[in-house]
């Protein structure tokens, strides 16, 4: 029998340190739902999702109850809708988002991701229709999340798409002005997007994926923070080892839940995503971990090094604990979803420039950042271009989920509620990037993309 000390430490992690499985995400291919008639295509999408995911929430809740581990979200990711919808003879893609939303409500999931397009090298007619429909689609639905991949290490950066996304983000914010620009919290712009990401808002079921899979995202910043409290004054060697051991334990739980969910739903197990995902709850913060490592506040000099070490140690510990690791797999640094990050921004210790540096060494990018509502679309595009460049050159995923909060300015806050949290509006650099963005075209792929 496992000894009592080990049992009680697990219970303490769950009850006191916010250990949970952040999400069970069912990836569903919708490629066979394409149809020339848009209404028929929407019906097929709805029918397939509700058929495959009928027992997803029920199964998640059963596992939660039997193993005594909270499974915070049950979600669905689908084939990028641009790939499915472009066979339909229609100019209006909003009904596809509505079909996804209805299916999500029917199955009882928290979010559905995949109102997406992959345009890193160029846009098809269908891709462009989807992109232009994003503001309306997100404003008129509740549970649909959207993502657009605008760059990759292999293809370079599609600057036409980058320019368009700046305008789309502005429009999405304006359409949901009553709600703090909520639509932008459900929209991610990626470089090197991954096909098996279980986390929202960037989840989609990539074209290289199987018919249906179960992916699981673990969490546990509170557990890592607690473990480090016993390492005060110790060297980085000890800190890294402690993080690795903790990550191993957290990931083993994720692996157990993933395999159990896959078996019960009779769907193949895909991957476990080793991400430290914070929530706005006190004690569930990545910023707290960085401060425990020895920084007076996150954002001070030393933050990037501490984050790099944390991110690497989490992967090293986690990779041994799971048979298949994938998704984003890295610490998340969403500002609005992390109480420590919010506090640092309010103190003026954490800026967009420092967050950009931090994205060079962790997953994923400038995440859940509110900026003044009058930030020009070109500036938003330029922020996206900077992040995409970091992703492209460093062969990693980067993303931008930014909210130009309508009517708000620096010093104000936007409250999205729930897991999305509360974002203090951060200042952006006032320089003008409009000529830079107006050039269009593609930034060529870097030399190290030529690996063959």
């Amino acid at each position: 029998m496992i000894n009592s000390g080990e049992i009680l430490s697990t219970i303490d992690m769950i009850s006191q340190q916010h250990l949970d499985v952040r999400t069970i995400t069912m990836g569903i291919s919708l490629r066979d739902c394409a149809h020339p008639d848009a209404a028929r295509c929407c019906d097929r999408i709805y029918d397939k999702i509700t058929r495959y995911a009928a027992d997803l929430v029920k199964t998640g809740e059963a596992i939660e109850s039997e193993f005594g581990i909270p499974i915070v979200n049950k979600r669905i990711s689908v084939t990028p809708i641009a790939l499915v919808a472009e066979s339909s003879e229609t100019e209006d893609y909003a009904p596809f988002a509505a079909a996804l939303d209805r299916a999500a409500h029917e199955t009882g999931v928290n979010f559905i991701g995949g109102y997406s397009a992959l345009v890193q090298k160029g846009m098809t007619v269908g891709d462009e229709k989807l992109l232009r429909s994003i503001p309306q689609a997100l404003a008129e639905t509740e549970l649909v999340c959207s993502s657009v991949n605008v760059a990759s290490t292999k293809a370079g950066i599609n600057m036409d798409a980058v320019a368009l996304m700046g305008r789309i983000i502005r429009q999405a914010a304006e359409r949901t002005a009553d709600n703090g620009g909520m639509a932008c919290a459900k929209l991610v712009v990626f470089a090197n997007a991954v096909e098996d990401n279980p986390f929202m808002a960037g989840a989609f079921h990539g074209p290289g994926e199987a018919e249906c899979v179960i992916n699981v995202g673990v969490s546990g910043p509170g557990v890592v923070h607690h473990a480090l409290q016993s390492c005060k004054g110790e060297s980085f060697d000890v800190v890294a080892e402690t993080i690795k051991k903790t990550a191993f334990r957290i990931t083993r739980v994720g692996q157990l839940v993933a395999q159990e969910a896959a078996r019960r739903l009779n769907v193949p197990f895909g991957i476990v995503d080793l991400s430290l995902a914070p929530t706005p709850a006190i004690g569930d913060s990545v910023a707290d971990i960085l401060e425990e490592i020895g920084l007076s506040t996150v954002g001070s000099h030393g933050t990037t090094a501490a984050l790099a070490m944390l991110n690497d140690a989490v992967k090293k510990g986690g990779v041994m604990a799971s048979s298949h690791v994938g998704g984003l797999s890295g610490a998340f640094i969403p500002v609005s979803e992390d109480a420590g990050m919010i506090a640092a921004v309010k103190k003026g210790a954490l800026t967009i420039e420092k967050l950009e540096a931090m994205t060079c060494v962790c997953s994923v990018g400038l995440d859940m950042i509110a900026v003044p509502g009058d930030t020009p679309a070109e500036t938003l595009s330029a922020i996206i271009a900077d992040e995409a460049a970091i992703g492209m050159i460093n062969n990693k995923t980067t993303a931008v989920r930014i909210i130009p909060a309508p009517g708000k300015t620096v010093g104000d806050t936007v409250d999205f509620g729930g897991l999305l949290g509360m974002a203090p509006v951060m200042p952006v650099n006032g320089g003008d990037a409009s000529l830079f963005i107006a050039r269009g075209g593609r930034i060529p792929a870097p030399i190290h993309s030529l690996r063959n």
Partner: protein
Amino acid sequence: MRAIVTVIGSDKVGIIASICSLLSKYNVNILDISQTLLQECFTMVMLVDCSACTISFADLALALKAQGEEMVLSVRIQREEIFDAMHRI
């Protein structure tokens, strides 16, 4: 199916009796018990076999939780595998 029952709270008369009689009522077999008292905090860990349990696992968990609340104790039941996964390679 084997599971771990944990009981945590302040010590008082009849904790073991009440939890054991509830488990017996639903035909859950107790395989092992360990119990400690640290200052006033009572901690009991039981390994049980639920394979012949007469109610569903979820209902058993609710019954234990309710019984615990009556005595101002935190009582949980979790499948053994989660502890194995976390602490054994």
